[in-house]
Symmetry: C2
């Protein structure tokens, strides 16, 4: 491949493929360079270290996994309907990722564990989306003002950890998982609702 034509996106696509094929323990920057037909120095011009490259691959994957959420958060449905829909969208996106390509999903669990600062930023962004919905619900009088929106968003996010934390991925395909998820969201919406 002509080195001048090499884009950051192409490197990330190749790196994801290498990680999937060799696994996170064995994949190297040299493997990525070889897959692209360039020297590893070329890859290092885009990413200063192996850790930076892996972090960028993880970030791209998380962005893809959560792509549908911002539109749900700012949708036109009433806040309570939207809150349920947002949590459902997150749960289904994670579940599909885990089911459709379990090897890549396992790879990303390893990557996620090694870039905790990056993940913290992602989780904060997700909780902020939830907080926007909750704030609107409080303004509309649908939700009670039992806490500030960011704190409540954090609480709701923690309460639903079982349905978005990859550590629980193996439980998402049990026959009762969807029903359990619906019951949990129902109880949380009751907790948030104005009386």
């Amino acid at each position: 491949m002509a080195e001048s034509a090499l884009s950051t996106e192409q490197i990330l696509v190749a790196a994801e493929d290498v990680l999937r094929r060799f696994g996170p323990a064995k994949a190297t920057v040299v493997d990525v360079a070889r897959a692209l037909g360039v020297s590893h120095g070329t890859v290092y011009r885009h990413f200063p270290s192996k850790a930076a490259l892996r972090g960028a691959v993880t970030e791209r994957w998380l962005d893809r996994a959560h792509a549908a959420l911002p539109a749900v958060a700012t949708g036109s449905q009433p806040p309570d309907v939207r809150l349920r829909l947002w949590l459902e969208t997150l749960y289904r996106a994670k579940k599909h990722k885990a089911l459709d390509d379990p090897e890549l999903f396992a790879t990303y669990q390893v990557l996620v564990d090694e870039s905790s600062a990056l993940i913290d930023g992602h989780l904060t962004a997700l909780e902020t989306q939830l907080a926007v919905i909750i704030a609107e619900g409080q303004d509309d009088g649908i939700f009670a003002e039992v806490g500030d929106p960011l704190t409540l968003a954090h609480t709701v996010f923690q309460a639903t950890a079982r349905f978005h934390d990859p550590a629980y991925a193996s439980t998402w395909t049990t026959p009762t998982a969807d029903q359990e998820f619906a019951a949990l969201v129902g109880l949380l919406l009751r907790g948030l609702a104005a009386r």
Copy 2:
């Protein structure tokens, strides 16, 4: 040690000590027998297999960890107060186990992963205690009849997983953990409350 005097409890105490010292990957029945000064055949007369011995050690540990809960579940406080107290007792017991003896706690996480049927039985017993509290609350009119007590107990238990599942033990000592726990229980109690 005189073999005739050897009780099941003594074997379990020795096995726990061996597991703590050698780690779950290396500990053997021979190590346990040696610690007791008996032959491994003597240990096998009490436990038919290494798996059975490890399962019994795990069960004894779980029983100890959850010893305070049944009394809380059947206490004399109003059901909403009691529900909060029960969840708090579980969280604090787990947190103390994790802090007081992190090596033994890590050992038990491995053991717990290998005896899922035993754990399922334990979790069902815990959820049944919660269900008793919720049923009383519904009878008293403190809790709404928004579901049958066992289903609601299961939902509350899943919602609080972050504060009793050993997979999250490393987060229990963050400065905000206790506050986050209180916020979560508060939201769940609001969800259960009669209007």
